[in-house]
Amino acid sequence: MFDIAPDHAIGLYSGLLALPLAMIAIRLRPARHMVPGTVPGASVLMAVAGAIHIGLIGTHLKESFTALLFLLNGTAYITLSVAFAWRWWRAASATLIGATLLGYLVYIAFGFDSPDQVAIATKLIELTALGLVLVPVRGEPRESRRTWRWTLVGVAVPVLTLITTSTVWIVDLKRPDAQHVHAGAVLQATNDVATPEQTAAAAQLYAATKSAIEPYQDWHRAMAAGYRPGGPANMPSTHWMNQHYVDAGYVLDPSRPQGLVYANTHHGPVLIGAMFQMKPIGQLGPDPGGPLTAWHEHQDICVTPIGFEFSLMTPFATCPIGSIDVSVPPMLHVWIVDNPGGQFAVDIDATVVKKIDRA
């Protein structure tokens, strides 16, 4: 959702190219003086959306139906962006934009495409264009239609925005691509099956790490070594980070993991694993175990300094007020308890933590 699909990038370039051209074309038309300023504004946005769709035809020729839809939709958008003085322009434009938005949502819901930045940006442009098409302007004739149009602006635009956001988000969470193991976490690309050498290296890393963090079963010793809990204590588990090790930038050093993970149980913190973290954002660490020890990084999460809590950024790139969008440097967990997902899984299984709590 936050990436640009390689076959969609051309659409972005087409849209950017169309923006100045559409603005110049509309400025050259005398008819623009006879309509409210919102109409040329909507026309420019529709021209951009149309250009994006036209631009995508070339990379979708193997999907003939999709390519045909891009052609028809792009042509319709560009035609309407030119015909803004037409009597039925508002009705036709609102219908086309609404149908395009809903059609796209059906398309991704059935798995014909995955939402990416180009698609979501196009939907953002279309929703804004829809608002500009519908909004009544002071001084316009046909007062009787104002109520109807205000109703549409107040209902159709919010409802379509909400449906678009929800569908894109649900589809992205339900069908993440191969590298997205869970919401917000991107897994390092590796070979599919571990070689015997990689299996041996992973076992060695596991044994060394487990042995090195054994003293920290007593959380007081972890505290003395510089580890500090972060985030709310009422969560099933908490990462205790050693800022000195983070700043020093040790790379996959079993004796100096940047973090420890404790289960928050009714009988106190119980050590369940360690976490290695790279210092730079976006730079994955060495991967001795291949697919067994793939690093992951959390991208586009909304972090608040208040209590070090987080949520996920929405498809339209907003975070709750008071939190900021960040990406966390790559990390690798080592679980010293029996984790169904594996010794190096991205997450600890919730049932494991509950079991420890009940023990």
Binding site: M34, W86, G131, V135
Partner: protein, 130 residues
């Protein structure tokens, strides 16, 4: 054929209406960000509940400001320009700092282009009277 509702208009600007649309879009985005915090609050992140409610209140306030802009109220214009200036400054700061903030086209449009568009649309105080 020229439609009856596209006769030459009186000397009224449609900038406030265009700004209203953009403000409405932004309020919807903040509302959804607020709603998205609630599941995390339920999962135990108590502060997220406060941030979620704050986001929903900001979304509501933005709608009121947008309505004020439509009514050509001077206070609404001031609040809108102030709010968007804060948004632009915050977004640019996030883009500049090495925090790994998203720099994709959606983030740029939603957090930089739309606020600048509102400021540009409301830049003429003479259009609005109290």
């Amino acid at each position: 054929m020229i439609a009856p509702d596209v006769e030459r208009l009186p000397k009224a600007s449609s900038r406030p209406e265009a700004a209203f649309v953009v403000l409405l879009m932004q309020s919807l985005f903040w509302a959804m960000a607020g709603i998205s915090a609630i599941p995390f609050a339920i999962a135990g992140e108590v502060f997220m509940l406060g941030l979620g409610i704050a986001s929903l209140l900001l979304a509501l306030a933005t709608v009121f400001v947008a309505i004020g802009v439509i009514w050509r109220r001077r206070w609404a214009r001031r609040w809108a320009v102030g709010l968007e200036a804060v948004c632009v400054a915050g977004s640019i700061l996030l883009l500049v700092l090495p925090l790994g903030a998203n720099r994709g086209p959606v983030a740029l449009i939603a957090n930089v282009v739309l606020p600048i568009a509102v400021i540009a649309l409301l830049r003429q105080p003479a259009e609005l009277t109290a």
